[in-house]
Subunit: 349 residues, 2 copies
């Protein structure tokens, strides 16, 4: 089935007449166009509603879609829907503003299509896998270049800036998300923003980064022990490292469910008394969005099948002390699991 | 009045019991915290609903707000609202998802507070103006550094990458938005994404960029004529340059309305027969968001008053040929207008 056939199948299942998306990633997925606009799919016809700013550029890219100059934005969309005698719209409520929703609700019945396109995008095509691999390799190469500068006295922000720059030099359009570089106590905050704090002897150093290539993202986290460290820190790191490895190796394609992967990580950490410090999910899908389906958490019944791409990223954060996270993005294959952008250095500087 | 008093005044005017925002810029404005979470203001009390990932980090920053560990997200918010006997919520419908809106609507009356916080943020305080100035200076300094590399044979993306890097080196947290570098025919697309196209003799080159410093953004666009050019191109550039200058100089604080500024730009371009190629608004506010109030367009009745910060950016785009945009961010003062991050080079390489 084509991508459009897949979304139509879901739209038909809820008896909606069409699919509308305000999500730029959906636009890219269904039309290969990455510009501002509204996506509309009515049966086999795909429309892009573009404003004057993006219209010429979109037309110039010759998409397999009807490009409509929509100076009135959502009003232009409504006019075409009324012309086509559309009564009901399938809409992702998590990617629609309340304003857009209320506007469309005046004339049409809204059917909840939350996550419909995300469920389709969860299973990657080969071209998508190739793009994610390219992104992962760009990120790894950039890191290899930046690695020699990581030493005591260098600031979190200096490492972040250099890593972002090297990713673009190696071919990234941009960073996949705001690169995290945290050291010392800052590693106890899972989503720390890099500061001018310099790396000190005895610090943990956490670097969470990814590249975006051809619209597709990569994602990984390295944690390092810097200089002198205690046995306690060493053990703490090792226990998390075991957890990440065992969790990844636990996955059996076509047999494991997402929630079981999450449980495997938590059970391993419980052995060391560390499960209470694991305060986020075990992983998330990666693709056109940096966070997408499948979510690897305790409530997800999703069966893990080939061509899914997601992270395995257990992390433990001791308030007031430090934290460790180790994250890899993996590809599910027929019988095994491939680590994307695998890097051999994971440890001590 | 404090920021909280200002929003409460607006909330009272529509008889709502509290203000809720899912907008990260609002969170930063009202609490000085830039993290994921939900903002709630009930009379004089400000709350931040944080998940486990951001809770410790927020508490550590000691905000003037009650920080609530909200593992259930919007459900935790609802519980507190019910405890506080809240009946109605003021909500910005353009910064709330349909999902969040529908969830809150089940238990509360929703009152439309679209743009309420944006109207307050439109008039900057001195500390905010200082931050925008710092951002503008960072951007200008970075450009000065990159300027010597701009020559025939260098690609759009190489300039973009270097400019982004230099902005961080000069102190930006990040670029204010995705830097635009367009050359040749690509300048006819107002929001072109940089490619590997190399700059050629006779090209126009358009660079639209800004820095983000302490959460505040700058924004400017330079257009250059590269190498040999025709009289037609030269005139075209000059006419746009006049337009930008005359439009900016037209502004009289406390007397001019936004729509009149827009008209001034269009009238000037009409003299040269170029008004039909001016396909976007004349300007937009700049602050915590890169696009915010006031919008300088034909429908805006907003009176221009001191401490507004916005862009003046007429642009003309000839389909299939080229485009020129010249953009400055300006600060409205008591009696005149200050150009932020003014750069002396605007012309020919």
């Amino acid at each position: 089935m084509t991508r459009v056939e897949k979304i139509n199948k879901k739209v038909n299942e809820i008896d909606a007449d069409c699919f509308v998306s305000f999500d730029k990633s959906d636009m890219l997925y269904f039309t290969q166009i990455y510009e501002d606009g509204i996506l509309l799919i009515i049966e086999h016809t795909t429309y892009i509603f573009a404003n004057k700013l993006s219209y010429d550029s979109i037309v110039n890219q010759k998409p397999q879609a009807s490009v409509i100059l929509a100076n009135q934005g959502i009003k232009s969309l409504q006019e075409l829907l009324i012309e086509n005698k559309i009564h009901s719209i399938a809409l992702d409520l998590k990617n629609t503003t309340a304003f857009q929703y209320e506007t469309l609700k005046k004339n049409f019945e809204i059917k909840d299509a939350t996550d419909f396109s995300k469920q389709i995008r969860m299973i990657k095509e080969q071209s998508e896998i190739n793009a994610i691999k390219r992104a992962a390799i760009v990120a790894r190469n950039a890191f290899t270049k930046v690695y020699p500068m990581i030493k005591i006295g260098v600031s979190e922000k200096e490492i972040k800036d250099e890593l972002d720059y090297q990713m673009t030099k190696f071919g990234a359009q941009k960073s996949a998300f705001e690169t995290i570089v945290a050291s010392g106590i800052n590693t106890s905050y899972p989503h720390h923003s890099p500061t001018d704090k310099k790396i000190e002897d005895g610090d943990f150093l956490m670097i969470d980064f990814g590249a975006c290539v051809d619209g597709y993202n990569s994602d990984c986290t390295y944690t390092f022990l810097i200089g002198n460290r205690t046995d306690e820190e060493r053990n703490f790191y090792n226990e998390l490292f075991y957890t990440q490895t065992f969790t990844r190796e636990f996955i059996a394609p076509n047999r494991t469910h997402a929630k079981d992967i999450d449980k495997r990580a938590r059970d391993e950490l419980a052995k060391y008394g560390l499960d209470k410090y694991f305060i986020h999910l075990t992983g998330h899908g990666v693709g056109l969005d940096i966070h997408e389906l499948p979510y690897i958490d305790s409530s997800s019944e999703t069966l893990i099948v080939p061509n899914m791409v997601f992270t395995i990223e257990p992390g433990i954060y001791i308030p007031g002390k430090y934290g460790v996270r180790i994250e890899q993005t993996i590809l599910i294959k027929e019988n095994d699991v491939e680590i994307l952008g695998y890097a051999p250095f994971m440890e001590i500087i």
